[in-house]
Structures are given as structure tokens and as C-alpha cells.
Amino acid sequence: MVTLTPEEIEEIQHEISLVPIKKAACIEALKVVQQHRGWVSDESMKAVADLMDMSPAELDSVATFYNLIFRQPVGRHVILVCDSISCWVMGYENLRQYLSDKLGIQYGQTTTDGRFTMLPNVCLGCCDHAPALMIDNDLYQDLQPEQLDEILNKYA
């Protein structure tokens, strides 16, 4: 049984203090755990549910609705490739292909060294600088496949 760290609990309690109904903080609570652990395992899920006075089913129902709560392990860095219309027009598929070839992974997969997970993502809101992608918190715009090597090198 996973127990939450005092730090996690404190951050979650803080979120709870901001909402009128405890359950309303459940997404924030999941975010806290994901922040610390990279993803939300079944065990973490139960621990959070416990803390939130929710059943695991109830919490997982919320968690599995959202695509950015990771219910499976992800790599140390998550690459979100924008696959929406402007990036498509501007040829994002070349980026994806390049990443797939280089890293040996498809969407939803993690490199064997646990470094990268690649996921598709909806429009990143920088269509005038398409194609774009995000790695962790960093946005890259106006990309050409040739630039990717250098970018990837920044992430250990």
C-alpha cells in the first residue's frame, strides 16, 4: 500500500482548503501526486481516494476522463506532439515520424531507457508558429525535424 508523503498530503490539504466541497479538490490532488511521481498508479489512486473521502472508483472515474492525468507510467520527459489542424497543415507528421524513428517509440510508448514518452496532444494554441510540440513545460514552435536532435539533447 502506497502512502502519500507528508509533502504531498500538505499540498493536497492546501488545495482542499480552497474549495467549498472537499471532493472538488480531487483533480488538484491527482495533479499533486503526478507532480511528485510522474504518474498516478493504482495504489496512489487508492491513497488519494482515501484522503479525499472518495471511493477509488469515484476518483478513478474522474482521473480516467482527463488525458493529462497519467494512469500508466511515463518516461522522465513527456513529449506532447500537437496533432491538430494547423500543425497538420504545416506538416507535423514529419516531426512525429522523425521522433518515432529516432526514439523507437510510437504514441503512448516510452523509450526503453525511460527517458521519453511520446503522446499526441490537441492544438497547443500557437498555430501561427506551427508545427509545435511541448516537452515537459517547454514549448517549441516553428519546428523542422532537423532541430529535434538538439532539442532532445537538453533532456537527460
Binding site: 472538488a24 482527463y66 492525468i69 497538420w88 492544438c123 494554441g125 514549448l139
Partner: protein, 423 residues
């Protein structure tokens, strides 16, 4: 040409700090409404200004506020919809990253008008820079007494929180957004009751788009007539327009409401990239109908775009050129909508994936003549009111107009059993 919303936004420069913002007249409107106006007067002013919601539907903002019951005890809420996830839309990002204090100021005005004491900025996850700028700005505003208890000694109290989402386009739909804020699955809610009556936590709530809210300080400061005079058409104010796709200079510009498509495309975006021809465009995000060559002189305002069978939507255009397959273009959109359907109602949940599969089959040379009929009944029956919310009807807009304007291209896919744009 006045550009009130973006006048202090300079590409590549930090947004104004509170001090700097105040120096250029920031938060004046807050002083004015708190000290000189009643909530009803604010609402009336906004009504008079003819401000229409910039979130896509174009509903009158003052009118929307006027449905909030003012005499009920208990909390009311104001929410800024900063979820901007509509493909091809990147206008709110500019305002959020470029001048967060303007948004906060607008939110205070709106919250005061409906006498809400708690407000949220619902920001999409991917806007990392915006998140940190807003967080900073909110802290500054608290510090300066524009937020919190007894603002500027007026007796009015307003708290503001930033909430960042965890994905799902659906969260942009105002009632689904409220569910997300309540820590629930972001399914939309039935209307009626409208959020103005029963919204966040069952309390009266107003959800407004970021751009809508950013107009408010200027309306308060300079008046309704001034706001109307900014426009070149029936609809008041300026609008933040954008263009993406294979044009020379994709970008965003604040322009008078009612500039023509042609002006935007040719003057601001510099026309198509060399060697490419214009075939069509979605005028305001992924869920609007195509406009084509013949519509280039249409004014970009709510009524004019509607008259030619599309919607102004978010006012950010996506351009289709002649080297890009229209079927592939629509497939990309339908893939998006099918994936972002919340799964609550049947036609959307089951219909969109079917449409996506058909378009994919066409792209792979597996299209069948019957497929055209199936696409057509979807466009006919996934209309407004038939599905639970506006997502699926929105999805049908580019499809139905593509079937109208690019029908031959669809048919070629079927008869040639391949995508003519692929080698």
C-alpha cells in the same frame, strides 16, 4: 486605428507589471465601477456597448449577465474561460501572456456587475507561461488591494483563483468547465437551468471568454459609444483575428470588428505562400463552416459571416491551400472531435468516430460510394439540439461545408481509390 486590447502587448517583452500597468491607466475602470456605479449600471453599460461574447457563440455579454438573479443570498461566481483548445485558435494566449492585468481588471468589473465574490481563471494546462504570469499578476493585484476583502474601501470583496486544467477540449464548454472546476468529469450540463441561475456548485455563475473580459475595462473607461465606434460593422469593438496555415505571415492582429476576410488574408497575412493557391478557410476555429474564394469580401463580424453560412467563431482562421487534401484536412478535424467527445450522448460519441473512420478509409483508398450518404446523414442529424452540447454540431460544420465546396475531391478519393494528394 485603436487597438485597446493589445496596445500594451509587445512581442518578446515581459507583460506590464502592476505598477507599469497602473501608470498607463490600468485599474481605472475598477475605481470607476466601485466608486461611481451600481452593478446594474455596469450591466446596462455593457449592454449598451453591444459587446458580444468572444468565446465563439457571440451572445450579448450584458444580456447574459442580466439573467443572474441579484436578490438571492449566498455565493455567486465569475469564471474566465481561458481553456482555449479549439484547433486553430490562439488569440486568448496573446492576451493571457501579454497583459494578464487587463484580464484581472475585466474580471473585477464583471464580477462586480453580477456581485460575485469568488472568481476563477480556468486555464488550459499547456499555457505554462500564461499560468506563471497570471499567478504573478493575481498576487500583485491582491497586494495592491484590487482583490480580496473590501476592495479600495468600497466594501466589495472578490477573491480570484487560477485553476489549470488537465486536458480535454470539452472543458472549454462553459457547463463542462464548471463540472471540471468542481472536480468532476467534464461532461456538459443540461440547459436550462443556465449557469446564470444554477452554475458552479449550483450557484449563479457567469462564464466569459478571456477576450470578452479584456474588453470591459475599456468600455467602462471610454464608454459604450466609443466601443461601438471602434468597429466597421454592426458588431461593436475590435476583434483579435488570427491566421494560420500556409500563408506568408501567419499571426494575430487586433483590428476593427468587420474587416474583410480578404484584408486579413492579403494585407495582414501577406497572402498565400508562393506557389500555393487559396482554396478555403475556416473563419473562426475548427468548428466553423468553410468559406471559399467567393466569400473573400465578407466582413468578419457575427452577422456577416452567418449570412454566408458560416460562423465567426473565435475569429482565428485556418487556411486550406491547394496542395493540401481537403479530405485529410477534415479527417484531422474529425479525429480531434471524436477524440474530444466526452462520451455522454449517443450521436456524438458514436457518430463522430464513424465519420472519422469513413474519412480515414477514403484517405487510404478504401472509400465506398455509400460513405457519402453516411457522412451526409451525420451532417444532417448531428445538428444543434440533437446532441447534448455544441461539440458535435461544431464538428459537423467543417464537414458539411467541405461536402458542399469540395465534394468532387471526396468523390475522387472514392473513384480513384486513393488520396490524389498522396504520391
Amino acid at each position: 486605428m485603436e487597438t485597446p486590447l493589445t496596445q500594451h502587448i509587445v512581442a518578446g517583452r515581459q507583460p506590464l507589471s502592476l505598477k507599469e500597468y497602473e501608470r498607463v491607466g490600468g485599474y481605472e475602470s475598477v475605481r470607476k465601477v466601485l466608486k461611481q456605479m451600481t452593478p446594474a449600471e455596469v450591466t446596462d453599460l455593457v449592454k449598451a456597448s453591444n459587446l458580444k461574447g468572444r468565446g465563439g457563440a457571440g451572445f450579448g455579454t450584458g444580456m447574459k449577465w442580466s439573467f443572474v438573479p441579484m436578490d438571492v443570498p449566498g455565493p455567486k461566481y465569475l469564471v474566465a474561460n481561458a481553456d482555449e483548445m479549439e484547433p486553430g485558435t490562439f488569440k486568448d494566449r496573446l492576451l493571457l501572456e501579454g497583459n494578464p492585468h487587463q484580464l484581472i481588471e475585466g474580471m473585477i468589473v464583471a464580477a462586480f456587475a453580477i456581485q460575485a465574490n469568488i472568481s476563477y481563471v480556468f486555464l488550459r494546462w499547456a499555457y505554462k507561461l500564461a499560468a506563471s504570469e497570471i499567478r504573478k499578476a493575481i498576487a500583485e493585484a491582491y497586494e495592491a488591494g484590487y482583490l480580496g476583502e473590501n476592495i479600495l474601501g468600497s466594501g466589495y470583496t472578490l477573491d480570484m483563483h487560477l485553476h489549470t486544467g488537465v486536458g480535454r477540449y470539452m472543458c472549454g464548454e462553459e457547463t463542462a468547465l464548471l463540472n471540471a472546476l468542481e472536480g468532476k468529469r467534464a461532461n456538459p450540463r443540461a440547459k436550462p437551468p443556465f449557469p446564470q441561475v444554477s452554475g458552479l456548485y449550483g450557484r449563479p455563475t457567469i462564464v466569459n471568454n478571456v477576450e470578452t473580459l479584456c474588453c470591459l475595462p475599456h468600455i467602462v473607461n471610454k464608454g459604450a459609444e466609443w466601443f461601438k465606434s471602434l468597429s466597421q460593422s454592426e458588431d461593436a469593438g475590435t476583434k483579435i483575428y488570427g491566421i494560420s496555415g500556409k500563408v506568408k505571415r501567419p499571426g494575430v492582429w487586433e483590428l476593427p470588428m468587420g474587416v474583410t476576410v480578404r484584408e486579413l488574408l492579403e494585407e495582414y497575412a501577406g497572402g498565400m505562400k508562393d506557389g500555393l493557391k487559396f482554396r478555403g478557410l475556416l473563419p473562426g476555429g475548427a468548428s466553423t463552416d468553410f468559406l471559399v474564394e467567393e466569400h473573400l469580401d465578407v466582413k468578419m463580424d457575427y452577422a456577416s459571416v452567418a449570412k454566408v453560412g458560416s460562423r465567426m467563431g473565435t475569429g482565428t482562421m485556418i487556411i486550406l491551400d491547394d496542395k493540401t487534401c481537403p479530405v485529410g484536412f477534415v479527417l484531422n478535424l474529425q479525429h480531434f472531435f471524436a477524440q474530444e467527445s466526452c462520451g455522454f450522448c449517443t450521436p456524438c460519441r458514436e457518430g463522430l468516430p464513424w465519420v472519422e473512420k469513413i474519412l480515414r478509409a477514403m484517405e487510404r483508398g478504401k472509400g465506398q460510394p455509400e460513405h457519402m450518404k453516411i457522412l451526409e446523414f451525420h451532417t444532417q442529424y448531428l445538428g444543434p439540439g440533437n446532441t447534448f452540447c455544441a461539440l458535435a454540431p461544431g464538428a459537423m460544420e467543417p464537414l458539411q461545408s467541405a461536402l458542399k465546396y469540395f465534394r468532387a475531391d471526396f468523390e475522387r478519393h472514392i473513384t480513384e481509390k486513393r488520396c490524389p494528394w498522396k504520391q
